[in-house]
Amino acid sequence: MVADQFACTAAVLEETPDAVVVSNLGVASYVLAEVQDRERNFYLWGSMGSTTATGIGVALGTDEQVTVLAGDGSLTMSLGVCSTVATAAPPNLTVVCFDNGIYGTTGGQPTPSIDFAAAAEAQGLPATSVADDAAFAEAYADAVARDGPSLIECMVEPSDPEARPTFDFPHIPRRVRDSLAE
């Protein structure tokens, strides 16, 4: 059994409606936009491999919850970033790695098979792995409640979002910034 990325993304917004959500380019951002476009959605439109590091920067500057929605291909590109999360230890940062087993925006080529939870733990970042919607919702609530960062690896079916919005890229971070300043 695997989880549904739409349902898990919706669960993130339900649990933490005020969170800044930093989403990886491609599927993670398309799914987030389709579930709900909101001021604190920080869609990335490029920079594969830098989603989690962007989230660290946001988390260090605000007391609000910050959640990164990474993809397995993107996190593979910068797996060492887990050590940076662990060292910086922002208490308000949760990293979700949606593992669909493919490079979803480049044609569905298979990604390397990596135990992301074990890789995160090995770098000092507490982590858990889930494979259904209910387990994700529970793990996410636990992650948000704990005093420190953590990673949730969530096994999901590949999804093909209908919404592929053309983001106004400079407007997106400006909108997040204005929202946090209110």
Partner: protein, 169 residues
Amino acid sequence: MSWETDVIDGLRDANIDLVTQLPDGAMDAVVEGLDEAGVRTLRVEREESAIAAASGIWVTGNRGAVICQSSGLANTLNAIGSLSVPARLPFLALVTRRGDLGEFNVAQVPAGYGLPAMMDEMGVRNTVVSEPESIRQTVRMAAETAFSTRTPYVVFFDTTVTGYGQEAQ
């Protein structure tokens, strides 16, 4: 007054809130001084993450700066080109430059010597500081340029500033 102190004072003048960095012997005193001055520093695992984190903190109303070597800045081209520039996420980068005057290691030459032109090609404004005078003002003005215009700005420090020949001995 050392050049390292001038860099620290320039960053403080510019109200930098977070300095993301990878270890660099030439900048050790700067990072230590920032820690002592209460300016938050973040050590990253790769320079591309330094760019992303410094870009990310901008959305919280804060100012980020990056410290790295020129070889490290070469690691960041995708983050600069597909995040910082198109999303208009400003940061100041202070880069110790290798590859030109006094360089003994050919492995430092292609990227270190070529980076100012590579930044120009990507539309990232930059300046090379070769003399230690006016560093404090240059750092501050570069930061103001970056955050006022919402684009990155890179300051390269030549070996004539950071010290010549230390690694060769």
